[in-house]
Amino acid sequence: MPKKIINVTVNGRAHEEAVEPRTLLVHFLREQLNLTGAHIGCETSHCGACTVDIDGKSVKSCTHLAVQCDGSEVLTVEGLASLSKEAGVLHAVQEGFYKEHGLQCGFCTPGMLVRSYRLLIDNPNPSEDEIRAGISGNLCRCTGYQNIVKAIQYAANKLQQAQKVTA
């Protein structure tokens, strides 16, 4: 099957690449663009380790074809820090996961971070139940989620403080 050319912006950088129609977005990111942050933990769209942000929505990149991203903007975990106005500063969700011990083996972490990032944009002051429901598409085997909830609450507070300062 002939390859298709796609134009996709990933973490702010434009790419023009050839892909097979069947190339999964997660493989495109990991193999062709060498962005190995998004991980693969299953093949039935359950685990969420592959979660990225496409045109402002959290999407499981293992259940998305690269060709479907033609013309889209994609954010992966590697792009989170670059959202900060200051260089070398982590995003609030990254800081939260570090400060609240929201990771152990780190395999679910990129998906959790990119999901949390969008969750807090959509709902800046979530309750604990809303956080748990909000990350119900991301599985973790190490943490039992309790510190992940605290990490997201930390980030929510930090982002709201920043809002107050700039407001």
């Binding site: 380790a49 395999f107 991301n138 599985l139 085997r141």
Partner: protein
């Protein structure tokens, strides 16, 4: 160790961020930026991809394998079968349990999803296409799935390769599907206790097969350099040195030319200890093709073919006095090992450390026997945070104590307190010969009962039971477990003949920072942080500047790896001992620099002070510099040490867990209202990391008890081998965990630490079962087999006549 009260000293101690400090983790930076280095992240020039053709049948002869169509698929470069491995004698491989396992099926397949052929291609998509195109013709054979059926005289022969072998690695074989019978304890004494006991109870219980399912599946990148004759393999391995030795023996390549690297690993939980056919085939393919070969299994493959856990059919009996004092314990187990005995156990223990099954109790007479059996299922059995069958042992004894309590109408906390080994009895030798190092069970139990308001909970339960209109049953589960970890003393514990010591080497640099390497390998447990913390306290150097490395066999000293909570008890001890060697040398250098005798110095947090004149001192940093230019005569330069630690004993962490459940009488849905987990792991290196691990272990235990299963249909098809059915709870289902602790140091461990975090899995699973059964106890129920899904609980509601 007690915190200093002088604020200046406290400041110096805090600056070290050493033992006891909930310091943040050093390894996090790369993970939160997506810069982890997992096996599937590794790309080498010219790398090929391997995928595996697997059997759809549980038991069948292979009539033919046709590679021709697969070889025509663009990108496919090779297809290998057992025939191709035969000349290398690699079509079968030794297992960790003294059996052999097929690498690629040799004439017949023994379990569904067994490896039959491998396809190597230029990219993973072509490899997958190649797998589809390999044509295998099978002739189905009758399937054996029940270990009791397997032992019947007319049962089909599963292991034709063992025909005529009337003994195996663990003694005589009674039957063609029998593997071993292993016993421990004193049968005569136990039988005598039962013969004269006023009260006896017995219970059959099944601990079903489950799978550790770490989020990252297994895989490797094998790279043979034909120019240098050197083999490097990046592998998801919890025991890279053992793998190196095995690979060297299997391949004939000297160990000095084999390098195994465990990079970042996305969870192990015992799933990543053994050597899988995928690794062997990738290595062979790399040697044959002279190019790197990557193999990454997918989730269905992981659940269906890699090391499962449990599958123990247990018959327990307790003998007791009418007021609940236990006089004897007898246990008989039929262990379903699957098609090959690939249990990752120390050689002498084919049933692992199951004989810890006398638990936290002072039981004078005990005996257990475990019969291992072959069936048409995937091989394994020892995995999933089990501490070598301690999960099964703790489940058995805790359920039996509840059965006894229910028989006698005794409170489940009271009966435990009555039978606990008392604090004064430690070190305590159990009827099975384990020498428990330390414990204080009564204090811990009382702490938990107070914290949860146990009496009020029982009163609430009584009121609920008396109310015919109550919509929910209420259950209270209490488990008071002792586990045995830290394998182990080499005279008892070896893996394929290599003693289960562990090791540490440390080198301090001139400017006062350090690097240390150990023979273990973290898979999320935080070794880069906790090991640095041990060293910080021992050496007086901030943990922030101590680099910890593990997992590369070319640089790390030999160790037996990380599983069974052995890292802190064994490698942690090696770390302390190596540090103390450096400390001793540092004292000599300090004495030389300060021109005093060694005995004229006091060590204080990060420095040696001259006794009585602390203004004269040398910090470890000062000493580090001097070690490279100004050492006393007769002493070598440098500041480093190695220690190989052979532990004198196992360690015995313990815990008290209590769970309250409410069961919906209409649907069988079981809600965990409260879960209180008190753990005693001795000295606590990083409370934050311990707590995180407890949360994780409790969550995995919750998954096992409440939803995980591996059901087989009559044809041996494994049902539910995707994450649609295999229950991994999300943040919504996962209960809120309350953690607590006591500290009872291990007297034989250099820093008093016992190891932690298999405990929440070992302890929580019987706690959930205890709670669910307790909800039905007033209706005469003594046992309910896991998983306690709403469907299965509803079936019990119906059976007990209380379904709404």
């Amino acid at each position: 160790m007690n915190a200093p009260t002088d604020p200046k000293l406290l400041e110096r101690k805090d600056a070290l961020q050493g033992m006891g400090d909930s310091r943040l983790r050093k390894e996090d930076a790369r993970f939160i930026q997506g810069k982890g280095n997992y096996v599937d992240d590794i790309k080498l020039p010219g790398m090929m991809h391997m995928d595996i053709v697997r059997s759809p049948y549980a038991h069948a002869r292979i009539k033919s394998i046709d590679k021709s169509e697969a070889l025509k698929v663009p990108g496919v470069v090779a297809v290998l079968t057992a025939e191709d491995l035969k000349p290398l004698k690699l079509h079968w491989m030794p297992t960790l349990a003294g059996d052999v396992a097929a690498v690629l099926a040799d004439g017949k397949v023994h379990f569904q999803m067994q490896e039959v052929a491998v396809v190597i291609a230029t990219d993973r998509y072509a490899a997958a296409d190649g797998v589809e195109a390999v044509q295998v013709e099978y002739e189905e054979l009758p399937v054996v799935l029940d270990p009791y059926e397997a032992l019947k005289p007319d049962a089909p022969v599963l292991r034709e390769d063992l025909a005529g072998k009337t003994s195996g690695a663990h003694g005589p074989r009674e039957h063609h599907n029998h593997i071993f019978t292993w016993t421990a304890g004193d049968k005569a004494a136990a039988d005598a206790a039962f013969a004269s006991a006023p009260v006896t109870v017995s219970q059959h219980m099944f601990y079903p097969r489950v799978h550790p399912c770490p989020l990252e599946t297994c895989g490797c990148v094998a790279s043979f350099d034909p120019v240098r004759g050197e083999l490097t393999t990046f592998m998801t391995s919890q025991a890279p040195h053992v793998v190196r030795t095995v690979v060297s023996l299997l391949s004939g390549i000297p160990e000095s030319k084999v390098r195994i690297v465990s990079p970042d690993i996305g969870g192990g939980f015992g799933n990543k200890v053994g050597v899988y056919p995928g690794y062997v085939c990738a290595i062979v393919a790399s040697i044959v093709l002279g190019k790197p070969v990557k193999w990454i299994e997918d989730r269905v493959e992981n659940i269906s073919s890699t090391a499962f856990a449990r599958d123990y059919h247990m018959d327990g009996e307790l003998a007791a006095t009418p007021d609940g004092k236990i006089l004897g314990l007898r246990v008989d187990v039929v262990a379903d090992h699957g098609a090959f005995d690939a249990c990752a156990d120390p050689t002498k223990f084919p049933a692992g450390l199951f004989h810890i099954c006398s638990g936290s109790y002072d039981i004078p007479a005990a005996h257990c026997s475990v019969k291992g059996v072959y069936t048409n299922k995937a091989p394994g059995g020892v995995a999933y945070r089990c501490s070598f069958r301690v999960t099964e042992a703790v489940y058995l004894i805790e359920r039996m104590v509840d059965v006894l309590a229910q028989k006698l109408g005794m409170d489940k906390a009271e009966i435990r307190a009555k039978n606990f080994i008392r604090k004064e009895q430690f070190p305590y030798t159990s009827a099975f010969g384990f020498e428990y190092d330390s414990g204080d069970y009564h204090t811990a139990l009382n702490k938990v009962l107070d914290a949860v308001g146990y009496k009020a909970l029982r009163a609430e339960q009584a009121a609920r039971r008396a109310d015919p209109n109550a919509t929910h049953l209420m259950g209270i589960g209490l488990v008071t477990f002792t586990e045995v970890v830290g394998a182990g003393p080499s005279k008892m514990c070896d893996i394929l003949g290599v003693g289960m010591f562990d090791s540490c080497e440390i080198r301090i640099h001139p400017t006062g920072s350090a690097i240390a390497r150990m023979g273990t390998i973290t898979q999320g447990q935080g070794h880069q942080t906790t090991y640095a913390q041990i060293l910080a306290t021992e050496l007086g150097i901030p943990s922030e500047v101590i680099q910890v490395e593990e997992g590369d066999t070319s640089t790390a000293p030999y160790g037996l790896g990380t599983y069974g909570s052995r890292s802190t008890p064994v490698a942690g001890a090696a770390i302390a001992m190596a540090a103390r060697k450096i400390h001793a040398k540092a004292r000599k250098i300090a004495a030389h620099l300060l021109e005093v005798g060694e005995n004229d110095l006091d060590w204080e947090i990060d420095r040696f002070n001259v006794k009585g004149d602390p203004a004269r001192h040398k910090t470890m940093k000062d000493i580090a510099w001097a070690a490279y230019n100004n050492v006393p005569a007769g002493l070598e330069m440098g500041l480093e040490a190695v220690h190989y630690y052979d532990p004198p004993n196992f360690t015995y962490p313990f815990g008290i867990y209590l769970c309250v459940v409410d069961i919906d009488r209409a649907t069988g849905e079981t809600k965990v209202r409260r879960f209180y987990a008190l753990d005693d792991c001795g000295t606590r290196i990083n409370p934050m990391i311990i707590e995180g691990q407890i949360h994780g272990g409790l969550t995995e235990g919750f998954a096992v008890a409440m939803g995980q299963q591996m059901p087989f249909d009559a044809q041996g098809n494994l049902l539910g081998n995707t994450l649609m059915d295999y229950f991994l709870p999300t943040a919504v289902e996962t209960p809120h965990w309350e953690t607590d602790h006591t500290v009872t140091p291990s007297p034989h461990h250099p820093i008093g630490a016992k190891g932690v975090a298999e405990s929440p899995h070992v302890g929580s699973i019987p706690t959930f079962t205890a709670a669910v059964v307790d909800a039905f106890a007033h209706l005469g129920v003594t046992d309910m087999t896991m998983p306690h899904t709403s469907y299965r609980v509803w079936q019990q509601l119906v059976k007990s006549g209380v379904a709404l």
